[in-house]
Symmetry: D2
Subunit: 290 residues, 4 copies
């Protein structure tokens, strides 16, 4: 609507005057704030902030903003992240055989709903090559098994580095990433850079064949959970959840179909929130400024 | 709208011609069918049926309908239940200290939304006496602990028998009923006669302090589950579930408040379905003909 | 799961014994009923029935079932429709420039979620040719304006006839079909054969620019409505509706994006119900046996 | 959790530095900000802000905060409102004959969910006297008709003044307030001080018998809308909306029952947001900082 914006996210110990100090710094440099959201976790004594201002008219040149905000974060004994709304993140999508999430993400990207580029799709199966390439992404088939896992993950990390990937989305990638992969990709700052869609409404029905187990249990609702991936499998910070009603007339295959719909909704919503830098992680939870 | 109805529920082994046989029997006796719902569980080879017809004009006198349908069910090697829509079930509500579900049920009964009578409220705490009595129910305070549990349950069963109670609703009754209680109250037919509202979205967060654990986990949705009580604690057949969205701005007390709302909605909905005889239990699940 | 089924839908004046007569006819011919749903509109004195039974083992040969059920419907002074679950309906999709609904329907068809074939896509704009052809559908570009409308509709009807199309889906086709088109395509029986997705939550915000008007009004929910098309514009029988929450932070473009999601959900749900023959129309309303 | 808070709401023309100026003023006086939400309506050039900080430790004495923030608002050419979280608003509830919303509000107030006092209930019918008095509110029966309307409204305004009422809730009060009443009660600042629950999902089915008309139309969803009352009947700023699904099996009375549930949910949610001072009105719309 009115040009690119700068987005600064900060987590630091809480104390009086933080909102003023942050917004004062932006104003002192001539920035016009478009959105400002703050949250205090009183129990943990933590302050979370997301400030977005117009780049146009800001007093600092673009390349000077990163070091300036880094210094600001250090002065407040916190951790900061800076983003420019016109810098499209480069995202890799990991898939296996199911196409519903991949197609949905590629379509939404093409339609301009998700502000990202998808230069790379990696899969342990060859099935979705034409889908990926049809949308202009490179498709790399890397079969994986217990014996080759370490080696394949090395290769995946090389591909991610080569393609300058900032974020990995596991769009029904039916493999568990090793702690080593996460440590190397997420980097030392502890930033969450892998998003997963979980085939169930966490924390219920963790594990295999959730829809069969949901059917056996006779649930009246099923759901899906999009979350960051941490070493605690399926236990990473939740970004978005969705549910849909089911009845006794639904067979297992109906639950699977409805599950696909909720997976697509929860994943695309989570990804959109992430791409707009509206998600902040703290204490194993997320604050979502939407 | 057009006078009282007769409701016949049947579960029997599946074979061709069952729908015809059932509806033919009603028609042969001059019955005008208002609703007919059938479901076949192909995997289990089970046939479930609910037929509702107008009492007025039916060829059999009221007192002859029960033995006739019992004979019909036996001929089909199944189990049947018969209800008249103008016979208000007598329901006892078990509570502890929280009033939100009790008040909601009593209010809905008074408003004509729940077709039942509530002559009896039993509690292990004295707190809700005036609420119960304000709506014309007898309130019996029966403190309970591990040592007295068996004895108190005997007393509860006596009260239920005296008051000719057909259904027990656990409306935030923070005690577990013993298998012996269930066996004696549910009776030999295996009919489910106790409904519970669970303080969480089953099967997630079973057990104590679900809202604290949901908050710690950072969920984006919470819910409540109304189910029949079986010996498998919290594992009985689910009747209705409800959810509501939460955010990082919600404190534990907000989750508790939102939880209360979903509990009231799920419980009143489940009870209404039960009272209209729209719920049938099979294989640990429910078919809900709504 | 167990082979193809026969689905018979009937609407006729209500009288005692109808359920028995219908199911008796199926049973007399050796049919094993899988689903039977009936509804009585007491006010209108109408009886609606949907019966589904296994084709395998049924006593009448396939080609004899249609005349037999037609005779049955006539005897009951009603109107019947017969379908075989293994006969995939041939569906034409009408579009303009927006691709979100078209893509969603084609993808779901390919994934086996919608039991239909889509041999034909007709548009008044050339934009979506590659999308349609990518999924194997013929794409016909027919520009339309007030002067050519009658002529273009003749051409459309010819194309529908040639391709033996049973159902038309208006997937964001931004043109109004003429009464003459509907009369000729729907046929004399008054069957509803055109489904539309409406860009709003009917009956609110009928007409142009609904999302701008919803934004101006400051609504907290927006929705979409899938309905059969009747001569009363936007007034045809509603099949499915969906909503999503919005906030003051949403700009008009956010409402448009959320609107697209709800449109896809409502349209695909309505189409699936139609294809499973779970929808029956009476008195300008639908009964949905799901 | 940590003592009472001060809440300042401001609407003023947008310009750079506003967030900084506001939070700087709070910090300069030693205030510890708990929540800060800002929204810019770019089209209108308006800036909306809600800041909440701890009263304890703040540098200004309580009675000095109002004039100080008034001066601040004037300096920014805007309009401000100040609230203290420990000052319970005095609320009057207007009702007619239906009790579901009144009971729900009184119960939630008693349960501590709604931070208000309800000293006064006014009705044009005597039916709900015992309900109001059972919760400790004064009940005043003021019959009204076209001839007496002006006179009765004068009497109502006198009662509101006497009881020092800050907010009026129309909880199924089936009368229209006159523009004169609104002008006199809302006061010169244009603040919205009357909340209504509308018996439908606005803007659909405005007017009489919405559930009958919704049933005739065969809708699959019904809803309720809580909004501020403006002179444009049913056109005031929307605060909260809720919906629930319906089916062809629902009779008009089922729609009425489901409507009651959604009315209670939407109204209690709107009232809670208002009482927490999370709602701001601008350009006929609301910003809801929840």
């Amino acid at each position: 609507m009115s040009g690119p914006t700068v987005i600064f996210q900060l987590i630091c110990p809480d104390r009086p005057g933080l909102v003023s100090e942050l917004s004062g710094w932006v104003a002192a440099n001539g920035g016009n704030i478009r959105h400002a959201d703050h949250h205090t976790d009183v129990g943990a004594g933590l302050f979370l902030s997301r400030i977005e201002w117009q780049l146009q008219g800001f007093g600092l040149p673009r390349q000077a903003i990163v070091p300036a905000t880094t210094a600001l974060a250090q002065r407040l004994e916190g951790v900061g992240q800076l983003h420019f709304s016109d810098a499209l993140p480069r995202v890799a999508i990991f898939v296996s055989r199911q196409d519903h999430c991949l197609l949905d993400l590629l379509w939404r990207t093409q339609a301009g709903e998700l502000a990202m580029e998808v230069p790379l799709v990696i899969s342990n199966h060859p099935d979705l090559q034409s889908v990926a390439e049809g949308f202009g992404a490179r498709f790399v088939h890397l079969p994986i098994n217990a014996a080759t896992k370490a080696e394949v993950e090395d290769r995946q990390l090389d591909l991610l580095t080569e393609a300058r990937i900032e974020l990995v989305v596991l769009a029904k990638y039916m493999q568990v990433l090793s702690p080593s992969f996460l440590e190397r990709f997420d980097g030392p700052g502890g930033f969450q850079r892998v998003i997963n869609i979980h085939h169930s409404f966490l924390p219920a029905f963790k594990g295999a064949q959730p829809y069969h187990r949901a059917w056996d249990r006779g649930v009246k609702l099923i759901g899906a959970t999009a979350h960051y991936v941490s070493e605690d499998l399926d236990g990473g910070p939740i970004i978005a959840q969705a549910t849909v009603g089911v009845s006794h007339r639904d067979e297992v295959e109906d639950l699977i179909r409805k599950g696909r719909d909720t997976e697509r909704l929860a994943l695309s919503r989570a990804l959109r929130l992430h791409l707009r830098r509206q998600v902040m992680v703290y204490r194993g939870r997320t604050a979502v400024f939407d």
